[in-house]
Symmetry: D2
Subunit: 398 residues, 4 copies
């Protein structure tokens, strides 16, 4: 977390979407700037001009660079001198506009941090991945939960073989906020999430199922073979799923399960994962993110705590901490870690270092493709009563 | 918990199986006598004569009534005067002998407490249910987890409508003790559990899957429609499954999932269930059995504790407690509650009261049939790669 | 847990007090018989003749041996032939009668299991200890929390030096049931506990403070030097303390604190202890008794679970378990462990083995003396605004 | 969290101390800017010129305003035009310099955010409070734990009478990092904390005891009457205490206890508090900061979660949240809440509103005086073997 690089300056950022009333816009703004490595200089914060203006003021933007539309933002920023122009764009609009914005940003030479799910359809996702591959911009997808130090610790422990061969995972993401039909009220979040033209073909599975799948893939590295899915809509009249369950047969013979709900009373944001290996097992819960449980028969249950100074902490996990043990870090800090990892890549590239765009610490455009493939196959499998469909995509990490 | 009934004496019990070295035999012996309502007077504790003798001594049995075989036990006990003869038989042999023993006991006029799964096959189970229905003996199946006060509390809360309509459950039972191939060592428990001729067609699903399914059915009362299952054998060379997952489509449109493992490192006996209703949600964990979590949007998370004196405690739950709040009750006490409920029925019957053999507090012979149906359909579905099979049995509770 | 000893029979027990309506009587009856090592043959269960009779029936006692008074019990039992006569007496009357009963029992050749606090005054306690020392009877005091397997595990870990030198303990026992003046209602437990002539000079500290002090002494073995205490009565009009706090200076320079409440809303039976050593630290909570937390800088937090088969489990802890890991054992099982340890000593003595009456696994008459000394010094210190008073008694374990 | 105020700009901040290698400097820098309400424009970050320069670069400071000393900072900033000059100074140097820096800053017209303990001695603290009272600057003391939403919720619940009369608190702060003599190694934090000329007369009690006392006072509002304290130095050769315990007699007859350790193996940053009232009881733990436990006899244990949208959340608690329920907020966010509350006061003052400097949401200079009084009386009482000393200071909140 230092500016002592060849740039010797903060990166300049613009945000698209995320104006007043947006939960995730505020999250991106805080996370991107948390470690003093970026400054917020431009934005196209809302399609509503008045809200765009107010939102710019919230973030202390110069009115000159508070643009009325994304197209204007791109055009004007490209025209600025290099030492004023933005370095990267944050996309936190509803899913339907991601593709257009990301494409234009990348093609204009800007790096991109994009919210998930990456696009509206798999086709768009694959198209975007092609574009990104052709260019040399950094593209990070904010599957933010992979930014938690203990998630990264888990991944490193798996890669170091401390679990032996991984044979099973159980990934669950349980919420309760969508128990009632908030989309019939003036509830912005619920409205677009229940609109297939904005959210895509999946509701709850698009919103949180992709996270549950992504974190399992991120930590275990296991390659999926085929998937079977059941999506449910428990609130009558809702356009999209609000509950769902998928089973994944893994290439190595293992089995993964993914269960998501947004209709479970009183459940907050309960993403959790359990991983079984031949030599040990891991468990992690997002609502208790500073702990990672490691179990091994014949040994006491071991609680690994987020502790940058502990001998058992892996370097990447230690580097993802700002605070000593016992000083809880949370959601914003994890989110900021995605940004920091992206910034590292941006700086490396600016310094002329060779940058690997595929095996990244941060979720990238290929992870975005895989997420869209996951959603497409889940929706299709569910519509066929859970028939097995292929789940291995050529762009998937391995 | 009183003898002040028309019998005015302790019930007399015999145990079949459960000799020295048997975990479950000792559990039955303690549970059945915990509340001073039964005395252990006879047994056929082992097929090995020496072990049978030693075991009889462990339990303080009169050597005259420590029989060499079950058949001898039945014959000799029937010949005793009514005021000495046993009242009931506890069956805790491996699964393959349950049917024969239970049948003979019932037909000889003895009540039965039988370990689960009830029989080796569905056919046997149905046959046994027919026999029991013809007679008037009490038949209790020790799905012991239903004896926990907070499980009974949960059931009562569902029945009282406090959750609204139940739409989903997630029942999991995760253990780790069978991670390695203990059946190749001199490990009695592992050996018979891996032998289809003794354990039946399912391994882990037979051992603990039936519990996970039963508790969901017991608490929610939801009627299953069809089931899809994946059984896995992660330890190479093992004859039966050691991991599995089933999905249940419910008649009311809901969805249930059941996940079981015996190969998850360091996991002890982690049966847990989450239940989602339209008005509230419940969560319970066997390893923390004195608590029941109730959640409702807009309200603080409520921890119901096992407390016989609390105004929120349902009568049946209160009656299942021996101790005030904060004095942990555990596995043995829950097990004993199954016995107490069975004893109540035995006494009622002896007093000439009309006894309902179908809607019982304790799991009964019909629940045993449903458990065997569950296993049969799971094994069959799994062998067909998860095809959907019917799951509603005519004998199932509703 | 076997009868295979030279006696080759169950021990015969009588209970004094503990009739219907007594919480602790039922606990003793279950605990003493849990492992089939004793049979309940006689009792003087209540000073109220009708209740005595009903209570005898509850426990299935032969009416001939349901005596009307303790004196009658002693007289009649002494007159019985040796092969029918009781072996031991359980005392669970209010504190004021303990001395008289225990004295008579011991002098009549019966072993004794006595509830705590041991007597009404220190003088009585010392007198009783003198009597017991002169005889060769087993005298066990039911500081039942020392019977938990993980408490015994903790003690063994301390003795094995795994904590290094112990320098501090924090022992707390927090309840809420006495928040209101139940003694003004018809509440049997509250009534005698608020009556100095029955309960002694301390209320909450007598009831639970002695447990909190005893468990710290039992686990750490640290020798106290002096004590300072503050007792409070928060409910106006109450005769005795309902909250209190004591500090103990230890001979080795360490510091212990003891905090007890019976007026903390919603708190159940929350006895817990934290112990700091130079090499490691332990934490245990009675409401979660199957776990013991061990911490050591630079290592993950280690949760030792009650597991008779784990390599890290000390033999005495393993021998105190009836069930495998994950099958919760609770209050009754711990209570029963006190009985089992006492039975072992009784059998050893009957077999002519040399029995150590001082360094016992179970709390003994000397621990009872120390408990009464603790109460006397606490009450006295508190009345002098916390002045330091000596706390090392010559009979205290070391 | 908005700039839409009459200033319509970010506040300009300078930091004194907190250069590279300082844990708390980085915390202040992040927290002060987290909500985009301040920009970091100047600093005197280290007395070591090279480290000062590097540190300035870490924070992206303009080298022109990276001063070599605090005196230079004050002089130069005062000389800047009003629209460039800093608004406030953050003090995160060792305790010995706080007084001098704070005095100069306030007298120069700058607002101050000062780390705790406020000064080296009570005399300094009282002097500083006099100065601040004479001026009209905002002075906030970073007793950061009072910034947690659930701590503020607790305070509001107490003030609303939901606990009835508060009679007892148990405040504990347990750490383990100082178990060994790190001060003998090159450990910056340990070195100055063990140096009375820099840390003051107390070690652990100065470092964390003040927090434990402050949070109890902040939440309960109870007025202390007198205090008795025992400080211990368990690591031989250490200059200051590393363990301690204090008892507080409260004006209303209640009792509070404060226990602190920095030598408890494996304990992280475990500040926790339990509060007993006549109508209810509260419990909160810093390591699990998003929850607040409320207990009331006869009701299920209620877990209040940090949820800005819940009907049970008090307005000030809701306003202290950035994220919805289940998205953990931690230490930095709580710290930032202290800054936000201070900023609100700064803006109010700039807008000409009347500002109350005494009953503030944020800890203020009077709280700092009370903290120093607490330390002085603890050290003195401990040196007199725990004699009772007065504890009510005329400047203390009530």
């Amino acid at each position: 977390m230092t500016l002592n690089n060849s740039l010797n300056r903060k990166l300049r950022m613009a945000m698209v979407g995320g104006g007043r009333g947006s939960f995730i816009g505020s999250v991106h703004a805080i996370a991107a700037q948390l470690d003093h490595r970026a400054e917020f200089v431009a934005g196209a914060l809302s399609s509503n001009p008045e809200r765009a203006k107010e939102s710019a003021s919230d973030y202390g933007l110069n009115p000159d660079r508070a643009y009325g539309s994304f197209d204007e933002l791109i055009e004007k920023e490209k025209a600025l001198p290099e030492d004023q122009r933005i370095d990267f764009v944050i996309i936190c609009t509803p899913n339907d506009s991601h593709y257009h914005i990301a494409k234009a940003a990348v093609e204009s030479g800007f790096h991109v941090f994009c919210d998930k799910p990456m696009t509206l359809t798999l086709e768009e996702a694959e198209g975007l991945a092609d574009i990104v591959s052709d260019k040399d911009q950094i593209f990070a997808l904010t599957h933010n939960y992979t930014g938690y130090p203990m998630v990264r610790q888990a991944r490193e422990m798996v890669m170091a073989g401390e679990l032996g061969e991984v044979q099973a995972f159980r990934s669950t993401y349980i919420q309760g906020w969508w128990r009632t039909r908030l989309e019939l009220e003036d509830h912005k979040q619920a409205k677009w999430r229940n609109d297939p033209s904005k959210a895509g073909a999946a509701g709850t599975f698009g919103d949180i199922g992709t996270h549950a799948y992504n974190i399992a893939r991120y930590i275990t590295g296991l390659i999926p073979k085929e998937i079977s899915c059941q999506l449910k809509t428990f609130e009558e009249g809702r356009a999209l799923d609000d509950y769902g369950h998928a089973i994944v047969n893994l290439e190595n013979g293992g089995l993964g399960t993914i269960t998501c709900s947004q209709i479970s009373h009183g459940r907050e944001n309960d993403l959790s994962i359990q991983i079984d290996g031949t030599l040990g097992a891991l468990e992690w819960r997002q609502e208790d993110p500073n702990e990672l449980i490691f179990r091994k028969n014949g040994h006491p249950k071991a609680i690994y705590t987020r502790d940058p100074n502990a001998p058992f902490t892996k370097p990447i996990s230690a580097a993802s901490c700002r605070l000593p043990w016992g000083h809880p870090e949370g959601f914003l800090e994890a989110f900021a870690n995605i940004y920091c990892s992206g910034y590292d890549a941006i700086v490396d590239q600016a310094e002329g270092k060779k940058v690997d765009h595929v095996n990244t610490i941060y979720p990238n455009v290929n992870d975005g493709v895989e997420g869209m493939y996951f959603l497409q196959q889940c929706v299709e499998s569910s519509s066929q009563n859970g028939t097995w469909l292929p789940m291995k995509h050529e762009r998937a990490r391995r």
